[in-house]
Amino acid sequence: MNPTRVILIGGGLAGLMATIRVAELGHKVDLFSVVPVRRSHSVCAQGGINAAKNLKGEGDSTWKHFDDTVYGGDFLQNQPQVKGMCEAAPGIVDLLDRMGVTFNRTAEGLLDFRRFGGTLYHRTAFAGATTGQQLLYALDEQVRRFESEGKVRKLESWMFVSAVLDEGGVCRGVCAVNLRSGEVRAFPADAVIVATGGIGAIFRQSTNSVACTGSAQSALLQQGVHYANAEMIQVHPTAIPGEDKCRLISESVRGEGGRVWVPKTPGDKRDPRTIPEAERFYFLEEWYPKYGNLVPRDVATRAIHKVVHEQGLGVDGKPMVYLDVTHLPRQMLDVKLGGVLEIYEKFVGLDPRDHPMKVFPAQHYTMGGLWVDNERQATNVPGIFAAGECEYQYHGANRLGANSLLSCLYGGMVAGPAAVNYAQNLETSAEAVSSEVFERERKRQEEIYDKLRSQEGSENPITIWKEMGETMTRHVTVTRYNKDLVAADAKLAELQERYQHINLADTARWGNQSLHFTRELGNMLVLARLITQSAALRNESRGAHYKPEFPERDDENWLRTTRASYENGEFKFQLDPVDTSLIPPRKRSYKS
């Protein structure tokens, strides 16, 4: 065996799983992360991970999991790979269990499972209400073990800025910047796996972590990597609105019996606890009797928007609804939901065991992402692979809750060996590539930084960021109108122009966070425009993408992947057919 070197960009669940798989096969890994990997955004996942282990005697099966996922995604996924993920899920949960994840248990000592949105089965394994944290820690620990054996080198506080492409357009490594010293350096590798997660910062007030900017995806897009279904943005129905971020209140709260309601009287000023049952409107239960509070997220979010914006029933006349667990036993709440209730308690100052929580939808996830082929997680650029939220292939037009941790892990499991296989079959390894190829890219990146540092003007990066976030949240989330999308794109173009006149208050090299943020902001603006233009293009309603002017799903014209490439500052779109060979598309409705 010829040991190869694989670069991993991102140390969340997908990146760590890919790292483990590559190291396990005996190859070297350079693992890049903007934060110490244990602090990656995967820690924020709360509710759990889906796996049809059928331990509750309900007759669940991996096929039913597959069917729920495809139906939940409104049939926009290429199906074979989704089937593969659902079939692998029980084994993945076993693996996590062996790694020591502190999953909740039944009296018999087996894994416990709870219900989640978009399914009628108890299919979600969970560790309290901080499952993502527990999973990330288990993988972080396995990687640390490989690190101590010299098989993994961690490059924390290094930020990916670009891929190094040779004359033939083959990826030979990456350029990264050290967030402390400011040094820009090129790193050779035989294959690169991108696992850079979500893009929440583009919407500013999202449920995502600070590091989820989408900058890496955008940089790759600008270098020729295709991006698919950019318009498919998930807005989670239940988050605490916040100044610096919106804090997620997990779907598992409803999975364990939490109920969503508003007072029937508009602007009802009473303490919610004193409002009698008969005067409460449990709109999800009423409108969707079969799934009730556990309809998929796109459906729940639109229902909340309807009740608040069309029917004027928001709590205190504000855009908020109640998420109520006060009727549930405290001991159960502590054991199964402690972590998430604690967040509400700490950030709002009220105990949700006694007070109904006030929540509202917030940007949460991107179903769209870097385009990858079905079997290998490979992008269209040779040598670049992608896994996790940053790629597009598992969730179609809407992701089901507790499928994200699964798709991260499965994508990472596939991408690791696929990258190794690719690297081993290369005719020339990265080491044999002329150093000029690396130096040229390094210089190009250095120049971009120099320009940012020296540019004159009166614009501030945070101001531009806030305006971008406002525009995106307002026009490119739950309800989309074509004329608004056109206006939003024009606004983004204006922000791109103003970006050229940012005057950085800090021009130091050492620890200059605003410099690196500004670098990312430029990339965020490009990706924001792609999301907006993709949304304008798709004239139908499917999953999370809802256009009142085109209220129906249109399979004839739009059962297609919108696949974008970037050429000379413009996006080019192609519409790919979707592989629906396993489950024929049917009408999606959660009413009965």
Binding site: I20, R21, E24, V35, P36, R38, R39, S40, V43, C44, G91, D94, L95, D97, R98, M99, G100, T102, N104, R105, E108, G109, A127, G128, T130, Q133, Q134, Y137, E141, Q142, R144, R145, E147, S148, R180, S209, V210, A211, G242, E243, D244, K245, R247, V335, G339, I343, K346, F347, M413, N460, P461, I462, A505, D506, A508, W510, G511, N512, Q513, S514
Partner: protein, 250 residues
Amino acid sequence: MAEGKTIIVKIKRQAGPKEPVRWEEFEIPWRPNMNVIACLIEIAQNPVTRDGRKTTPVSYEANCLEEVCGACAMVINGRSRQACSALVDHLEQPIRLEPMSKFPIVRDLAVDRSVMFENAKRLRCWVPIDGTYAIGPGPRISPERQQVAYALSRCIFCGNCLEVCPKVNESSDFVGAALLNQVRLFNMHPTGAMHAHERLQAVRGVGGVQDCDNAQNCVKACPKSIPLTESNNDVNRQALLDAIFGWMFR
């Protein structure tokens, strides 16, 4: 700014490890539900001190902003804690922000806590598995035991327990409560327990469990309410038993 309510923030600043320390004071507009992070973003948008001098945005670490990633620990009004969950309306003003003092400074409020991860390596804080291939489920664990382990495994490596520990200082290598708690966690897992001796041997080494002098500051500083003193005592007991009787079981 005259008409609206404002917030006064004093920040201890340092451009780099070898640069001089200075304090800067900012006055920023108040809005409902602000936390310390929101103040720092506000300053980045308008990096001007209270007396009108232009300055640079403040460097600090942050990621999840919901107290689960551990990144944004700093000393706020003299207390080491997470900045995201430090709500402005609950803080006395002027709000004083300082970097943690027990870790090397990077810049301003950002410090380098990699020593914690290095110690996790040294103490072998993982469950060694044979491989990622499908070899069936893990060991059965009772719900009671899971509850104990889960509480320990919520440690976010924020380092607040090290910051407040009198035994963590320049003349000591004490690994700190967070790491001893990790040893306890992995030693109680059925697979991890098979390798308890390796961890206990390491924990008896330099900077190990014997350095804890039971000041009990750690448990008060822990944002996740982890029973750290209990963990310290438990690991101490395990290390002692392993030293005396360990040979019988090998």
